[in-house]
């Protein structure tokens, strides 16, 4: 579990500050867990993910498997962690397949795991379509497939479920579970707190600070929900989605 402190951390962020966006964040994730990043809009979730991915300069330190990211060669970074942006702008009409194959750049091969990644995200029918001619949700799945193709043990996904239909959202969560069972660590930001409550652990961001970290039940307390999100929580019967 992410709350224990094993000898090797998949990701360790210490005292990370990006002026005006996040402030003195400490976060430590164990291997093999799905950790949700929750918080209101503008609370610093995307920034924290960028910092975790080593894409945004921040004070403090970021370690992957106990090694400072800054000391890793670019190619090794590409093999160690995958980052999925919230949205992507595609100016050029690369085919879905060739975008997914870009995930293999750091490995120096073009074919390994591409078909599997395309199948895992249900993109088989779109494989030869240009990415600038598919829908937002489909594009999101292409980026996920590319992240999958990297086979990186640390997966950082920024709102991967935001534009997905219920079925593909469930499939992505199942995929995350499979990856975690195989030893990968997934840190993903989520808006839907009902989805978040089913993850292994949660990190709650509030105005650039990490307010709480731990199992969902200990993070999503009625007090925290009221204070951070300004909502009241109540259990009631509703729709439940499952894969057939």
């Amino acid at each position: 579990m992410a709350t224990q402190a094993p000898s090797v951390n998949a990701l360790e962020i210490a005292d990370a500050t990006v002026p005006g966006r996040i402030e003195s964040v400490f976060l430590r994730l164990a291997p093999g867990a799905i950790v949700g990043l929750v918080g209101p809009n503008g609370s610093g979730k995307s920034t924290l993910l960028c910092v975790a991915a080593g894409l945004l300069p921040a004070t403090g330190s970021v370690l992957w498997r106990n090694r400072p990211v800054a000391a890793l060669a670019p190619l090794e970074r590409g093999r160690s962690a995958a980052w999925v942006p919230q949205e992507a702008r595609f100016e050029f009409g690369f085919t879905v397949r060739s975008v997914v194959a870009q995930g293999r750049y750091a490995h120096g091969d073009d074919d390994r795991g591409i078909d599997e990644a395309i199948a895992a995200l249900d993109l088989g029918a779109l494989a030869s379509r240009p990415v600038n001619q598919i829908s937002g949700g489909e594009r999101q799945r292409v980026l996920m497939a590319r992240a999958l193709a990297t086979a990186a043990p640390l997966q950082l996904w920024d709102e991967p479920l935001a534009s997905l239909d219920p079925r593909h959202a469930l499939e992505v969560l199942l995929l995350a579970r499979r990856l975690a069972d195989a030893g990968s660590t997934i840190l993903l930001s989520v808006q839907d707190l009902r989805v978040a409550s089913g993850l292994d652990a949660l990190a709650l961001m509030d105005s650039g600070r990490l307010r709480a970290f731990g199992p969902p039940a200990s993070v999503l307390t009625p007090e925290a929900l009221a204070e951070v999100f300004g909502v009241r929580v109540r259990t009631a019967a509703g729709l439940v989605f499952e894969l057939p």
Binding site: C50, A53, G54, L55, P74, L75, E76, R77, G78, R79, A81, A82, W83, P85, A88, R89, F90, E91, F92, G93, F94, T95, S98, V99, Q102, G103, Y105, A106, S128, R146, T150
Partner: protein, 326 residues
Amino acid sequence: MILPARYARFALPGAVLLLAAMAAFSLATGDVRLGPERIWAGLLHRDAMASTVIWQIRLPRMAVGVMVGAALAAAGLIMQAYFRNSLASPDLLGVSTGGAAGAAVAIASGWAAVSLWSLPAAALVGSFAAVGAVIALARRGASTERLLLAGVALNALLGAVTAYILSRYTDLYQRNAQILFWLMGGLEDRMGMHVMIGLPIPLAALALWPLGRPMDLLSLGEQEAQSLGIDVRRLRRRLIAIAAVLTATATAIAGTVGFVGLVVPHILRLLVGPEHRRLVPLALVGGPVFVLGCDLAGRLAGGLRLGIVTALIGGPFFLWLLRRHQ
């Protein structure tokens, strides 16, 4: 994509054949018409007259045309990937104008007469200054509007530098004529010397050759590329240096030739898709095909300068692109 994937691999051999045909045509056409046998005899110095025409006039002209075409097409391709915008190109962004302004300063001040290399060096400085300004004004991943506005502003500014020089030194007619040459762009009276000055072009092309795949990743976003294992800062520095050297050298040997960097990459992308591993070699071959074709068209039309022909073709093409872009 117009060509089905299975035919795309024939695009490069096809372009090479087309280039060979254009080159032969270019060597055959002129005041003295030469057939294949006489071209061959001239190349081997077996026919004194043909030999002079070929080696002194047509071969340098063709070689400079090939280098300029390859340089401008490749520079356009680089800038489009760098700015993630398919409307970026050396002339629209003011990089060619910067090179021309640098060349104009060198000619007017008399530096150009000091050494063979001072003119290309001045063009290089002008191009680099323009590149630096575009980067500062538009930032990477810039929207089409910002990028084109930055280009408009720079073209106006650098054009004013050239215009000032032209008006300031009206007494030196010969120098002004020389400056006007750069501004209109052309392949007339090219000599072995110009081929020599153009040598940085094949070197820069060689440096560009292996960067196709990294360019693919960069063209989809800076952070994405970095997360996938690209050293983005290093790649961008290399790309912009290569693009500036290509544009500046092309400008130094043939003046400002517009629209090649816009038209050629676009046509190639329509033919074989957006992957730069394919586009880099194709641009290096397709650029020369376009330039030699325009040069031939200009010669057959009674001596239109190259810059005029490329603009006559490129202008309407650009308008069509803008319409299609919406």
